[in-house]
């Protein structure tokens, strides 16, 4: 019933006559300036910087900006991680090669000795040492000599 609300509105409008002491508004500006200066001295620098950032983006909700920054940070971290993973992914040629022996990984890339030493087989270095000593190299497969060099004759 609008007429009833009219009467209520008239009653509520009487609250306009509730007023602070007469000097209140005269002193308000000075009080405001004093408090503002005191607040500036108390406030940490990060808080002032944060207020400036929120003011720059024109929003009233710091939480919304914080959420946006957090989301952006997550995206950046996810992007960097993905990039690193893509960089280290093996190519098809690399995938076809046998996995290097851990000891071989320690060798320099410039060295010829990139093959991992197999158990029971002479290494490249030991074969070269044999040749330097005048002995022909012997190749062994399945524990039987298979080299084309004839064994020394016993006649």
């Amino acid at each position: 019933m609008p007429e009833d609300f009219d009467e209520l509105s008239k009653l509520l409008r009487l609250k306009r006559f509730e007023q602070p002491p007469p000097a209140y508004f005269e002193d308000f500006l000075d009080d405001f300036k004093d408090r503002q200066r005191a607040q500036l001295l108390r406030e940490p620098a990060w808080r002032i910087a944060w207020d400036r950032v929120t003011a720059f983006f024109g929003g009233h909700s710091a939480a919304r900006i914080g959420y946006g920054l957090a989301s952006a940070a997550v995206l950046v971290i996810a992007g960097v991680t993905s990039f690193n993973i893509l960089q280290t992914r093996p190519t098809p040629e690399m995938a076809a090669l046998p996995a290097p022996h851990p000891a071989a990984q320690q060798a320099s890339y410039l060295s010829l000795n990139t093959q991992a030493p197999m158990p029971g087989l002479p290494t490249l270095d030991s074969r070269m040492a044999q040749m330097a000593a005048g002995f022909p190299p012997r190749y062994v497969m399945d524990a039987r000599p298979v080299s084309y060099e004839q064994p020394p004759s016993s006649f």
Binding site: D4, L8, K10, L11, L12, K15, E18, Q19, F25
Partner: protein, 203 residues
């Protein structure tokens, strides 16, 4: 003394607030002082009538102007300064009231004695015997108690519409809700207040 005339946003298209805001943004703090002097009575009325406590209203008003000053560079003029600063005041007061909860004491301002000359007060006392019989202090106490029973959002709408005389459209801009929402909040709040203030109704 009383802020008797309805407080409406400035209708003048050449709004002096724009110049004051531009000067503040350019680094002239005295321009902001002028805005503080201009808006403190209106905003005090808004915050005081929502809190029913002078000290809380004073603290909140200081915080409202401090926040407005810090954020002034973010003010792009999409709304009027009037709307912008009122929305800061309303939002900060609603947040404060939600934190304060129900545990508080009223600290009411004095009733200006000019009320005796107010046309509506004369009319109310002439037609309503409960209003005539109640003394001013009692009437003030009851009105504030009734207001404090409303939710902060409903109190904001009643304060702006009934006490400060703002139109629905302006309230909807300040609160960032539709005019329909403002009207429905007002209707609900009026119904609640009517029940609380039943004893002051015309008999």
């Amino acid at each position: 003394m009383a802020d008797a005339a309805p407080v409406n946003p400035p209708a003048n298209p050449v709004n002096p607030d724009i110049e004051l805001v531009a000067r503040t943004q350019a680094g002239d703090p005295r321009a902001f002082d002028e805005l503080v002097v201009k808006y403190s009575p209106r905003l005090y009325g808004l915050v005081y009538n929502m809190t029913s406590n002078h000290e809380d209203a004073n603290d909140l008003l200081q915080d409202v102007f401090a926040k407005a000053f810090r954020s002034i560079n973010g003010f792009r003029g999409k709304s009027s300064f009037y709307t912008w600063i009122h929305s800061i005041a309303v939002n900060m007061t609603i947040n404060f009231l939600k934190k304060r909860g129900r545990r508080f004491q009223m600290s009411l301002d004095d009733v200006d004695l000019n009320i005796q000359n107010d046309k509506e007060f004369i009319e109310l006392t002439a037609t309503s015997s409960p209003v005539r019989e109640a003394d001013l202090g009692e009437l003030q106490q009851k009105l504030n108690e009734a207001m404090q029973k409303l939710s902060p959002e409903h109190r904001a709408v009643v304060t702006m519409f009934d006490i400060q005389g703002m139109p629905h459209a302006e309230i909807s801009k300040i609160l960032g809700v539709s005019e329909g929402t403002v009207r429905s909040r007002l209707f609900y709040a009026h119904r609640q207040l009517q029940a609380y203030l039943e004893e002051f109704r015309k008999k």
